[in-house]
């Protein structure tokens, strides 16, 4: 079982990978620490600087749509954000996120508000969010055990380097 506590930053539907990190920033540098300062800048200027280690992104449907660039999920991680909670994720973003070690949780996010402090508990058979503002428990899609193992090793390459198998 793993537990996380973090503050929610709430975004809408269809947050594409260009919003997550603008293409022109990637032309300047591929240093993730640098890029982390600019995440979401087109839709929420200053977010990358404001966000603190352990904070959580909460979004609507189809998070991470658009081009399949892996640098999007890696920039979120580099900003210190370990978890994204959304109604749904775009398929390639989901793969890239898990492979890079970013925890992605699917649930109905409608009741979560900006600034809510969330406690997240990930078990082998259940993932649940406790919202400290209204004492609500939100049941989430469970994360397959094998993907939890990849996540706890910090991603697919680290996992494979350690166990030499998938």
């Amino acid at each position: 079982m793993t537990r996380h506590r973090g503050r929610a930053y709430v975004f809408g539907d269809n947050i594409n990978t260009d919003y997550i990190i603008a293409s022109h920033r990637k032309k300047d540098t591929l240093d993730l620490k640098q890029l982390a300062n600019y995440i979401m800048e087109d839709i929420r200027p200053g977010f990358g600087v404001q966000v603190k280690k352990g904070d959580i992104i909460v979004a609507g449907k189809n998070f991470g749509c658009g081009s399949a660039m892996e640098v999007a999920s890696l920039s979120i991680l580099a900003a210190g954000i370990p978890i994204v909670i959304a109604k749904t994720f775009a398929r390639t973003f989901f793969r890239n996120g898990i492979n890079g070690g970013l925890i992605l949780i699917k649930c109905n996010t409608e009741s979560i508000c900006e600034g809510d402090v969330l406690d997240i508990e990930i078990n082998s058979d259940r993932t649940v969010i406790f919202n400290n503002r209204n004492m609500e428990e939100i049941e989430c899609d469970k994360i397959p055990v094998q993907l939890q193992s990849y996540l706890s090793e910090g991603g697919l390459i680290s996992y494979f380097n350690k166990y030499n198998s998938l």
Binding site: R91, V145, G155, I157, F160, S165
Partner: protein, 419 residues
């Protein structure tokens, strides 16, 4: 036990146990493909791996198609890196032979019943050959190259039954645009689509490739065609000595949904700027002025497509204001078009014939449109700026609609021409 869908059965076969929709499977990958647009990051990630020796380099194929011939020194260096890597490891490399999604089937790498991944979103094209084929990221690709395996969430499947008989001047491209207009860009996200019905039963391999190529535009993970006489004939001619295990769904397969359409009365379809699901029947967009018309790409650059263009242009001329670009999808297609006299006739009509490659489809090749210009193309995406200029607009249609529009200089219903 209930029956399995095509996706469930192929993935089950490759992971050695029975899996169903929603399960996580660690499956053996039969074929891995990369382009010169996706190889660089994969090669970087491979350096992070303790073990870098490839499980089976013969299952890995690199194709240079986005930047062919090389436009600058930076890309030339990148191509050098790819060549060196393939020399060292023994991976397959195709350079200057055509577009990946044409080359992989032509060279016999897409075999019925197999599981294929590609670091390119249109990898789903090979579903036409009764394979489970899907696009993945660079980390996925690096790990799969070394381990020979990858994780998959087994998708639920939607059975798409296309009934009736396609009317005159309507083909596979119109069918998939019509579906995209109905299902929308994330309408079948994560799902596998299993195609069947009388329209599919009569559709040739080229048409099936066009259909499967664009399932990703509706968010699908894969689109899979049944193994039937048409697929078997194509495979037997290509690989007479190869044994393969085609897979078909069980009669009692469990589908998340069954959608059924009768396509006997649909019109040619056009996707309008700037989304693939912004689709209208051609009669509703007729008259939009066109500056450039493109025939080619991994969606519609095959010999049957070039033959259609040729058949139409035997009776008409290209409008003086329109530039017609024709890009055969592979050298084999190009050679066949030369043998049939198609290339000569298209040149005499004033078409520009480009080296087989991705061309201007995603702005990496020559053919960038000018400011304020409208393009009509047989490609698969019309996003703002896709072809390299945010001040231009892209319309998508079938070869027949593109050629009819090139002839008239405005978007034109091909049913109004006689050919």
């Amino acid at each position: 036990m209930l029956g399995g869908t095509l996706a469930e059965k192929i993935i089950s076969e490759k992971c050695g146990k029975r899996v169903k929709a929603g399960d996580l499977a660690i499956a053996d990958v039969d074929c891995m493909v990369l382009t010169d647009a996706s190889a660089p990051l994969t090669l970087e990630l491979l350096k992070k791996m303790k073990k870098q020796e490839l499980k089976d380099p013969k299952k890995v194929t690199f194709v240079m198609d986005h930047y062919i011939p090389t436009p600058n020194a930076k890309i030339a260096r990148l191509h050098q890196t790819m060549r060196e890597y393939c020399d060292e490891t023994g991976c397959n490399l195709y350079e200057g032979k055509g577009i990946i999604h044409q080359i992989i089937p032509e060279m016999g790498h897409a075999v019925p019943g197999s599981l294929i991944i590609g670091a390119d979103s249109h990898t789903c094209t090979y579903g036409a050959f009764n394979t489970f084929s899907t696009g993945v990221g660079s980390t996925d690709m690096a790990v799969a190259m070394v381990s020979g395996k990858l994780w998959f969430l087994v998708p639920s499947t939607i059975s798409v039954r296309l009934n009736g008989r396609l009317p005159e001047a309507v083909d596979a491209k119109d069918v998939i645009l019509w579906l995209a207009g109905r299902l929308k860009s994330d309408g079948v996200a994560y799902k596998a689509l299993e195609f069947s019905g009388s329209v599919i039963n009569k559709m040739n391999i080229d048409g099936r490739m066009t259909l499967c190529n664009m399932v990703v535009e509706m968010g699908a993970k894969a689109g899979i065609m049944p193994f039937d006489e048409i697929c078997e004939k194509w495979m037997r001619e290509l690989l007479p000595d190869k044994s393969f295990q085609p897979i078909n769904s069980d009669p009692r397969a469990v589908y998340e949904d069954v959608i059924e359409y009768d396509l006997s009365n649909i019109s040619p379809q056009v996707a309008c700027p700037h989304n693939v699901d912004n689709v209208y029947p051609v009669e509703e967009v007729e008259g939009v002025p066109i500056n450039m018309a493109v025939i080619g790409t991994c969606t519609n650059g095959r010999i049957s497509d070039l033959k259609t263009a040729d058949d139409m242009l035997k009776y008409y001329d290209i409008h003086p204001r329109v530039r017609l670009l024709v890009i055969p999808a592979s050298n084999n297609v190009y050679l066949e078009a030369i043998r049939q006299g198609i290339i000569e006739r298209l040149l005499l009509k004033g078409a520009m014939i480009l080296q087989p490659c991705c061309g201007p489809c995603c702005g990496t090749g020559n053919g960038v449109p000018g400011d304020g210009e409208n393009v009509i193309s047989t490609a698969n995406r019309n996003f703002l700026g896709r072809m390299g200029n945010v001040n231009s607009s892209i319309y998508l249609g079938s070869v027949q609609t593109v050629v009819a529009s090139a002839i008239k200089g405005v978007i034109t219903d091909p049913r109004k021409l006689s050919y």
